[in-house]
């Protein structure tokens, strides 16, 4: 019975800590699948979170860079427009809702474009809006509808009308929120250039 031959060797007591080491390894092996699963889950979560964060950061950076480029271009355009010798500055004091404000028009006679800035205008009632008008030889033509819901400056650019002859002036009235074909409401200003 050769199976028992191992017992022929003299016994030898192992060092005292060996038993603890064996039991420790057994315990560690018992929990290893759970730890592996938990570690794998954590890795997947971290990896997924990392990828998501990386993509989001990259997208936000691209958007920020794009906005910065557009803001710089707009700044350049605005500076060139405002400071051009062909641009005429017209400032009209206005009174709305008991407060005093102003409408500033940068009129570019070469580019046939106006930049209009409104300061200090009272916010509109819910069913009303400010409407800008070009005064032409053929009468008033709607230039822009500018509903104002907050007490803040407002800026808009306007192309000159292609019909009706040269622009002779500008006007602003308070109209229904959907706008009017011709001014019917209270006039904010009426200016002939």
């Amino acid at each position: 019975m050769i199976d028992w031959l191992g017992m022929a060797a003299p016994p030898r007591l192992p060092r005292s800590e060996l038993k603890g080491l064996v039991l420790g390894r057994v315990r560690a092996a018992r929990w290893r699948p759970w730890r592996l699963a938990a570690a794998a889950l954590a890795l997947v979560a971290l990896g997924g979170g990392g990828v998501w964060a990386s993509r989001t950061i990259r997208a936000l950076r691209a958007e920020r860079d794009d906005l910065a480029r557009r803001a710089a271009a707009l700044g350049d355009t605005l500076a060139a427009f405002i400071h051009s010798p062909a641009t005429r500055l017209i400032q009209v004091p206005v009174s709305t809702g008991g407060r005093v404000g102003s409408v500033t028009i940068f009129a570019d006679s070469v580019g046939h474009r106006w930049l209009v800035r409104c300061d200090g205008l009272a916010p509109n009632a819910a069913d009303q809006a400010y409407q800008l008008w070009f005064i032409t030889r053929d009468g008033m033509r709607s230039a822009a509808l500018m509903p104002m819901e907050t007490d803040a400056p407002m800026v808009t650019t306007l192309d000159m009308p292609r019909t009706g002859g040269p622009v002779l002036g500008a006007a602003m009235s308070i109209e229904p929120r959907v706008g009017s074909a011709a001014p019917r409401g209270p006039m904010v200003f009426h200016l002939v250039l």
Binding site: D3, W4, A9, R12, P14, K19
Partner: protein, 184 residues
């Protein structure tokens, strides 16, 4: 056994207490190095814990199964070593310790070691073998040599080695037939 199969850590602790001296003993006998033998013994008990389901009680008792794991692991470690032949020579020079007689300096008292009667029985069975048969058994079991390697080592024909091993196994089986499992 059932407690081990149910992965009861206390059962493993009890098995360690009962068998570790023998597992370390056989590993020391094969490897000739206590640290390495203890490392093997640690691996053996972890393997027993993991693969206890593979032990078929109908094919044999637990102790020889564990000892065979210890023997195989120790022999594997031995084979991995580059110093294989040097160690073998050291053992050969050891001469008297060839059969693994308990050394007096080990501070192991017979009563303190479970399984001691089995050790004595196995040792006596080996001692009763003729020298040439005992030698091939020791070379095969404790030094992990193949039949061909034993033949080379002893400068004997392969057939002679096989015959001696067969005869030795038959005598050992007869001498140890009464040995039963000694752990609960």
């Amino acid at each position: 056994m059932r407690r081990l199969q149910a992965h009861d850590e206390r059962a493993l602790g009890e098995l360690f207490d009962a068998l570790a001296p023998w597992v370390v003993g056989v590993a020391v006998r094969i490897l000739g190095d206590v640290d390495e033998a203890e490392e093997v013994a640690g691996d053996v008990f972890v393997q027993v814990w993991r693969r206890i389901d593979q032990h078929d009680a109908s094919r044999g008792p637990l102790v020889p199964w564990i000892l065979s794991i210890a023997r195989n692991r120790a022999v594997d470690a031995l084979r991995r070593r580059r110093r294989w032949w040097r160690k073998a020579e050291q053992w050969q020079r050891g001469g008297a310790g060839e059969l693994g007689v308990a050394e007096p300096g080990l501070a192991l008292h017979e009563a303190a070691v479970p399984g001691w009667p089995v050790h004595r029985a196995v040792h006596a069975a080996l001692a009763r073998l003729p020298e040439e048969q005992r030698r091939v058994v020791v070379l095969a079991y404790f030094e992990g040599l193949t039949h061909r390697e034993i033949a080379r080592r002893l400068a004997q024909p392969l057939g002679t080695v096989k015959t001696r091993l067969r005869s030795a196994q038959a005598k050992l089986s007869e001498a140890l037939a009464h040995v039963k499992e000694w752990i609960a």
